[in-house]
Amino acid sequence: MLLLIPLLPFAGFLANASLGRRLPKAVSGTIACSAIGASFVVSVLSVTRLLAQPVEARAIAQDVFTWISAGRVDVAFGLRLDPLSALMILVVTGIGSLIHVYSTAYMHEESDPEYARYFSYLNLFAAFMLVLVLGSNFLVLFVGWEGVGLCSYLLIGFWYRKPSAADAGKKAFVVNRIGDFAFILGMLLVFATFGTLEFQAVAEQVARLAPETVFGTLSLITLLLFIGATGKSAQIPLFVWLPDAMEGPTPVSALIHAATMVTAGVYMIGRNAVLFSHAPDTLAIIALVGVATALVAGTIGLVQTDIKRVLAYSTVSQLGYMFLAMGVGAWGAGVFHLYTHAFFKALMFLGSGAVIHALHGEQDLRRMGGLKHDLPVTYWTFLIGALAIAGVPGLAGFFSKDEILFRTFTSGHTLLWVVGVLTALLTATYMFRLVFLAFHGVRRGDGDHGHGLHDAPPAMAIALVVLAVGSVLAGYIGVPHALGGSNQLEQFLEPSFRAGAEAASHGETHASLAIEFGLMGASTLAAVAGIALAAFFFLRRPEAAAALSERFSGVYRLLLNKYYVDELYDAAVVQPIRRTSEGALWKGLDVRVIDGAVNGVGAGVFGAGSLLRRLQTGSVRAYGAGLMLGVVLVVGYYLW
């Protein structure tokens, strides 16, 4: 049953990859959508079965086959469904299905083979992502991990004839490899330390240890794993690939680079919550990195002019939030935010896709404006998404973000909390800057798109509306106690963050209601202030924004150029490697040593050959005589 979940999209991939070239768009699109749709249905059924089990032992495991069995290494290709992965598969298949449906309309201008290729990649991605979240050990997770990386590369570079797209794909791949390398090291260290790669077994062993007070093996393992996560989830220092990844088709950005794949790092940390909670040093680093990423990305997002890049930096920033939650030990809150974020960020990407689609590929915010009359569905759904991410009370983002900030504060990280609130303000600001620039005011673009703008076609509209409803309602499964809820999600997820035997020892930290309401007020205030700020600068007095950027031109340029991180990496890493390769490896080692050896062998063979070729008389009978001589000698030797 569990196996079916990744297998169905994989079958869709096989079908489209092998036959797709000859199929019309309707058929290949239907194949892909029904594959992921069926997977969604199976996922729902599986989760229903999971919910029927008693709370403490909620897990469905399936060992598909013994993968590696060599000496001490015994790894099964095992799948395991527990509350955490249940949530993940629902997000992946649910939102994935919507994005597939959306894509049928969005990609409609591609040729038949390209269309089929797109959908085969998308299905393959879903299959790998499901393997990633269902894997019961590090190795299976790693298969999914690498697989989604591959699909991400393929989809970023989907329009491979465009150099920037191909480069972005390569960049994503290379940067991810750095993280993956650390991840592999971490994985090996896990195996060396615990002798197993099963998550359950590792957690049980770790639970018996005391948390490390000084930096030790556990800290090293978790740090390596975290570096892997920074690659996949675009955190400092490896976040540079995600904004460039926007070269891919917009639905891909929505699915892979907002809703699912980039959250793999968060998921992985959540999956190993027991391990990480025993390494407080790493947790501190995670929290710091998370909040720094949130802030840095938020500030960059403030000045970007490309609609998708703004969203990309927003994604990085929100991922920072999730890592912050992980870093302060609020696993449930982090995953909660992951889940709500999937809705509204996918919604906003798809909305921006609808805008780009309507404007025939225009992505520059400075050339938009006033679109709310022409694209009402897109506008309203996008607005809901923006409100949700900004943290306006009542919408999904509010609950999850507030939960994170609350947990940060109550765990004693006041400074982190302050930065978090600041980032919340920034989030609201840049998001509404986007909304106001794109949808309000007057059109600043060329006249040629002036009329005949049409709103999202049905397939896209359906996805938008469903996601908008989700963005509103998704938060209500995690309403905190303070607001009269019971925080069901967190309770549901709780067993996943504990080792099997461990009892629910540390319950929820109960802060006073006053503090909780105060904090809520603060974040609400931040959201409202952010929106107001955006409204002032970009709706009321656009010239004020220009003036501000004039006055702080240094800061502005710094932000516009993303803190020069790409340039820094180029100077610090890329150029030295290139110089070494060219000077020492190519001209020194390759030309002198290797080519020299090869040429030397060639010359030697040539010399020997020019001697031996005199034996090559061309006379068959002379050869025969040689043969006979050999036979006679050999037989004679044995007779002797």
Binding site: Q616, G618, V620, R621, A625
Partner: protein, 103 residues
């Protein structure tokens, strides 16, 4: 059945035939006859197989003869085709006429 000749005699006959075939390659100056000499050698080997198979009471000797014959047929077909092709180029069947590829 009358008494059979001993196995050694079959083998000696086979050895003689093989030697005749081998010598034929060198004695004759005609590609076709040289191919015939190869056939003599193959048949000498066949005789050995059948004789040993009979001596050991196994059918495998005969089976191998079957395969040898198949290979011989393939060899003859390809060999003669090559001879024909060569003859078209040189109007000769002398083995020393085709030494263009000497070193």
């Amino acid at each position: 059945m009358t008494a059979m000749a001993p196995l050694e005699h079959y083998l000696i006959l086979s050895a003689i035939l093989f030697a005749i075939g081998a010598a034929g390659i060198f004695v004759r100056r005609n590609l076709i006859t040289m191919l015939l000499a190869v056939e003599i050698m193959l048949n000498a080997v066949n005789l050995t197989f059948v004789a040993f198979g009979r001596a050991l009471g196994a059918a495998d000797g005969q089976i191998i003869v079957f395969f040898v014959m198949t290979v011989a047929a393939a060899e003859a077909a390809v060999g003669l085709a090559i001879v024909i092709a060569l003859f078209r180029h040189r109007e000769s069947l002398h083995p020393e006429a085709f030494t263009t590829l000497r070193g």
